[in-house]
Assembly symmetry: C5
Homo-oligomer: 254 residues x 5
């Protein structure tokens, strides 16, 4: 039987998408809009400062198109932290102007396809690799950059079935895939989080870049990698841009 | 023709998901929220105590993300018990603050792939196995643990068709699958219930663990089992955590 | 070219699913609820008595889970009868507390796979068979039993295509399927109705039993029949229980 | 490369489905219902009389089940005519009691699979065939008959791909299909309209008959034609019955 | 491994679909409708004049059927421009009479299948080709013409997988496809924009013509091209017609 790769997990992740009820916003008296902005900004600022937990990271993004208007991403040590953050938003006056059209629950994950020795003993690898792995499990969110989020699974087709091929063959495909990724070093930051058992696809992918065409380019290039072309199943894609909590009012007012 | 395995059935199961109308909750006067909490808590407590029937088990869970906020699970001897429990919830003031985005109807089931002798005569097997089977049919719900629920069917693909392969081959795959499960003994409790003829997939799977990464790990490991990789079709996944009815107010107030 | 089987048709069928707006129900003054119960009961009673047409049959069922709360089934000689029954419900005060989440339109049908002589000349077969056929076309609805409804089509896959195989081979598979059915004689009553040209699947199947595990068992057993395993495509499943119109109030009040 | 058949186009078609808000209807004061009936009737009458354009045809149908209550079909020389008809409905008081759950946009089309000479020069064929073709492009809508509407596409499967087979082979299959159709001459009238580039499937099919079992029979028989069994992909099916605009009030009042 | 083609990108694109709430429109007092028309017209006129950015193009279209009533298309140099345009609409009184049922985010793209030399050095090709490429990246929107929009992806089937075939073979198919397109020179204008990483399909296609049957014809003809027949996966299709902002009132008033 094909073997599962060893994995390690870090922070749990909530992608919390929100749609603004622009009709309600337009019709609300100014003091209600001001209160919504004040409470929303405060909620976002506190979570970006991780005032609710020992560690983690949070950020808010504007989102293009009808699928959502805002995306709030939380990385936290426990699912309970995420549940509290989700409900805390609902207690703000801002929440009264939003609905939650979708969301995604996952946990940051690294897999031992390329560096099995790390998974046997993390201290057996050099500090640089340890830091790299740590950065994957407890990622920072870049400032003022574009974001793309999409969930994905590995195909279990009748002919092409990721879960039915040998570890070595999978490792080789993952290696080639990583090569494509390296061409985007410095242009793209990527967070991979497993949603197996938690949400409808197997992983959530979050890409950051200061140029959205880099995002288009890396996803397109990677689609030609065997691991994607034959084995990738993609869900919906969302694109947006990070803004500081202090700009929430500017975003909402246009 | 391939033969169906012998089966035995126990309690019927309702997974009743609820979404909280947080806008209504935020805007409601305190006495209405207090009444909703009081009636909701009382309803949940009575059902956890199985005051409505001779036997069974019930529990309430918080759920992460947009798909639901609460999951109430009822195990009861009859479908009528489940219908009454579902409608009883609707008579509480809490129901006025919720909608029911989804649900799942099933009956706990054991299959005779590995122990056919039990299905010929339950008394022919030792007491330990009898107790094990009983525990599958009339399961207890663990306290204060994380839960994952998902429905699944066996694939009837043009090439890989579970229902078109021999009993023995299926039994062997189920055996291998059970081996994977045994590696999680003490970490994961699992309830399997058939929804054939009752709901949209063939089975509902409910996993419990005190560590959500165990849930991720077992589902991921099992995906490499032939029975899943080639023959599993999965629906939506829900993740949450059990809380005692007395904590309903704390959950709703944030 | 493969040949279509001869068919005969009987009554047209409407499966009319209704979801109760429990919030509106909870909040309505008693006299409004009483009027809704009175008008709803009267509507159901008149249709069970077939006061609206020369012949037919009607029944109401409670339904478990979020997909519906009530299922009203009408068998009538014409589509116009069904249209009138559907609109007559909308004129009751009960309708104001319900929405119609789904429905199914079909016509009872028998196919000449096993008894072609009947379709050449119904009088050529013995009275017992004639009565059997008649019962399929103008079915009675059993009292106080559980019901399962699901729509289905025959697969037209690239490899396994029901409509591309010979009449004889199809007839043989239907015969084997009927054998499985006979093992449930006395336990399960089944109504088959064609929705080809009328609704989204090709047939609607309605099963009745006094024990819901018989429903689970027959659908599971039949799934191993080649006709289902290779050629069946199933839609959503609904499960519920018949109740007399006089119990409508008891159902709604909990 | 396989060749596209020559085609000719006639009137553009809008299938405009409407769901009645029966709760609003039940609760509306009589004068509002009367006004809605009057304006709705007048709108339908004017469009049946084609008072809005030089030529065309329109009709209204009751529809069974939850998918819609009314279907208004317009045939007109331009898409602009259809847009005006759609918006004109919205200006009636009747529209206030309806929503538009679905619709279909297409253009009547004939294809040169069987009579290529007509497409080279319409005058090269006899007057009977010219009239037949004209009737396909500018169809009449039969009085007081049942209607079935469904959209369809030709399959582009990995193995069976309509668009990848030779013109001659396709022409042969279309010919066989036409033979099946001829068996229903006098029983079924059929309108075929292309929605390629306009709507989600490739064609919309509208069938008329004074007996709905003829509709079931022709669609079932044709499903065994290779062109359907291997190459047909069908959308949702809708069934209803034409009524004269003057009966709108009777329809709405039950 | 198959190689991705070189690409170049131009303006970002937002297809912003809007559904008119005709009930609210019908019931609104005249001064509110007048204000909505005035603000909507001004918003559209300013964006058609590209008063909000250095360069770009915008247009408004009426859309047939239930999927939308209006389509506003914006081409702009940055995603931020699109986000501002989307939110600016929400600040108009017109927005209060609309919802946003769907949308599409993409970036105009040219691919180096046929002219790789351009992608090495744009100045290495003649001015005519440079202008052609420029026109693809910074397109003009034709006046008063019909529009068809649909998203599409290249198939990654188990047998036919676009991303698994050689660059040369893909280039050849694209060349044949372009030949089909050339037959519609002067009849059809086409804008191709990549949505890889931004939205749910891989490209958005926008076709313009003064005759909607040309749109039907080109999409049908191209469906027989191998690149579409074997490798095209299409989403929903929308059809409409451009109108000048000054005609917004006429459109809304019928």
């Amino acid at each position: 039987m094909p073997e599962a790769p060893p994995t390690d997990e870090g922070w749990f992740v909530l992608h919390d998408f929100r749609t603004v009820d622009w009709d309600a916003w337009r019709d609300a008296p100014e003091h209600e809009r001001e209160r919504a902005i004040a409470e929303g900004t405060e909620h976002l600022r506190r979570h970006e400062e991780v005032a609710d937990s020992d560690e983690g990271a949070s950020a808010v993004f504007s989102v293009l198109g009808h699928k959502a208007d805002l995306l709030v991403v939380h990385f936290r040590p426990t699912l309970d932290d995420l549940s509290r953050a989700e409900r805390a938003f609902e207690r703000t006056a801002l929440a009264g102007f939003t609905t939650q059209p979708t969301s995604y629950v996952s946990v940051t994950e690294i897999s031992g396809y390329s560096t099995p020795e790390y998974f046997d003993d993390p201290d057996s690898v050099d500090q640089g690799l340890q830091n790299y792995m740590e950065g994957k499990l407890q990622p920072e969110i870049p400032d003022d950059e574009y974001v793309s989020f999409y969930p994905m699974s590995k195909r279990r087709g009748e002919e092409h079935n990721w879960y039915d091929i040998d570890f070595e063959e999978r490792a080789e495909m993952m290696e080639t895939h990583a090569e494509t990724g390296k061409e985007y070093a410095g242009k793209i930051k990527q967070v991979i989080a497993s949603s197996v058992g938690f949400d409808d696809y197997e992983w959530g992918v979050t890409l950051f870049s200061d140029d959205p065409t880099h995002i288009k380019d890396i996803v397109y290039d990677m689609r030609f990698d065997e691991v994607s072309s034959k084995y990738g199943e993609f869900g919906q894609f969302y694109v947006g841009r990070r803004f500081p909590p202090a700009d929430l009012g500017a975003y909402l007012e246009g």
